[in-house]
Amino acid sequence: MAFMPKIGMVLGLLGLLLPWWVSIDGLSSEGARTLGVFIFAAIFWMTEPVPIYATSLLVILLQVFTLSSAGFFQSETGGTLPPYGSFYASLASPIIVLFLGGFSLASAAVKVGLDLNLTRWLLRPFGQAPSAILFGLMLATAMLSAFMSNTATTAMMMTVILPMVSVLDKTDPFRKALALSVPFAANLGGIATPIGTPPNAIALAALNQLGVKISFTTWMLLAVPLVVVMLLICWQVLLKLFPPQSKTVSLKLDGKFATHHAALLTYLIFGGTVLLWVTEKLHGIPSSMVAFLPVALLPALNVLQKKEIRNFPWEVLWLVAGGISLGVSLKENGVADWMLTRVSMDALGPVGAMMGFCLLGYIVANLVSNTVSASILIPLVIGFASGIQMAEADLTRNVVLIGIIVSFSMTLPISTPPNAIGMSSGLIDTKDMMKAGLIVGLVGGLMLIACALFYWPLFL
């Protein structure tokens, strides 16, 4: 085992056991155990002595045995601990079902080639000029990654750009622009909808626990303008840094939409579900209810079979569920409040503290998984908010802010899986990614804060 996971293993386990040795001032014993689980989760998630989804499952296990009413310990304060079922419930919480709906749609789309054909169709109007094609690619990537996995979208788009790259001159900087455009657009596109990327789920689940519901439509109203502006900025940054040398780029866009039975059903269900999602505000049917339509209908109509269902990225759901279940204990046992009384942030004021959290989120998410960053930081933000008695609307905005800021981290190959794929293509150097990623990320962060302060109050 490498150095960091080893250290992480030791520190994480120490953190977990801490409450048994040290009595912590201001915390009940269940509060202390919760703190232990939180420290364990944070360190294990960040240093990865075990895979991060396994850490999430351990978090659920630990809570079931040490923090539920049927567990080994009773509540010290005389209250009742949550039943163990409430921790398992995180595995099938509405937000998880929403993602499951996304997985079903994506799996069917891949099976019938909808995503690839949609990409080709979207790219046709963009002609052959390199700069126009670059924007077309970014737009198509972002639109798909808003509804499908960022990683899968990036991989698919790589198969579209690699043939283009191979006919370009080896010294043409535009090759780098192409190889960076896809992962960056995928990272940005994930912000656009609640199911775009797992950190969005973490933010929405945390808000759910606070009793705040944000509709699919509202999220898109908050996020889509930001994504569009950032796509334009990112496009210009890439063109400036890596200007195309050739006048035209050839793009093979043949391929027809499949018209067999399963394909037609997929188009119908995909279109219908997405339509119901984005119009949630008009009809009022919650997106998590709509999400079960594809989950149930696609297998019922035999579009998805055992093979595809087994191939769902279940570990993503587990990862998110671990974060959600941790929220249950943190909220019940007053740990969040306690944390904030230890850390004096009053001097910063609410806006200053939020900028601090944003910066922290940005930095951490560049180094570890975005989902993990959101899972660790959002409980801290909620704790801080209750510490200073922040207004509910401010809190909501701040939670969404953290959920989104992590998606702007795209400086390093390890920052996000799409970045890793872009880097693996061998077309770019780390310093290219760092330069472009830093500009896009920092501008994005500032735009996001501006949105949160001046634009979001229109909706939240």
Partner: protein, 173 residues
């Protein structure tokens, strides 16, 4: 994303077997592009090839592709290829027969009994051999490696990206 990758990952090797030193040298030259990532091992006979296989297995590496001549003193190439399935570390290796002297019968034998993946006749073009080995290595890592993505820059990037997309090989976190 794993930040701290295991530094001691097992390597996937390429093994070239030919009794003529000049030929072996030529194959080695053609496949040198892979050597950084996929160590290229050379053997002058089937017997030596087996020894190398056991060293590869001994250091917990695996054999990804074997490029083998047919007519050699002692054991023939086809016999060697047919027996790879039971050699530890070489069970899943992709097999290329590179030969000028294999007769009709030998070729049939190679396909049916040794499960040959590719047949190249001598004289061969370096680029062709490279292309074949690249394809087969790509297939091998897609089948056998837990992290095919890391090989994208040296192997067939399109094939790997396609597999990541279709099989959902990379997680979204």
């Amino acid at each position: 994303m794993a930040v701290w990758k295991d530094e001691f990952m097992n390597q996937i090797c390429i093994l070239c077997v030919d009794d003529e030193p000049e030929v072996l040298e030529a194959i080695e030259r053609d496949l040198r592009v892979f050597d950084d990532i996929f160590p290229v091992e050379l053997a002058a006979s089937a017997e030596e090839a087996r020894k190398i296989c056991s060293t590869i297995d001994g250091r917990e590496d695996r054999l990804g592709v074997i490029v083998c001549d047919h007519l050699m003193p002692g054991e023939t190439g086809v016999e060697l290829l047919a027996s790879l399935d039971v050699i530890p570390g070489a069970e899943s290796a992709r097999k290329v027969l590179l030969t000028g002297q294999a007769g009709h019968e030998d070729t049939i034998e190679a396909i049916n009994r040794a499960g040959l993946d590719y047949y190249i006749s001598k004289p061969w073009k370096g680029e062709h051999l490279q292309e074949v080995v690249r394809k087969l290595l790509t297939q091998y890592v897609l089948d056998q490696s837990s992290d095919p993505m890391s090989f994208m820059s040296v192997l067939d990037a399109g094939m790997i990206a396609d597999a990541i997309h279709k099989k959902g090989m990379a997680s979204d976190f």
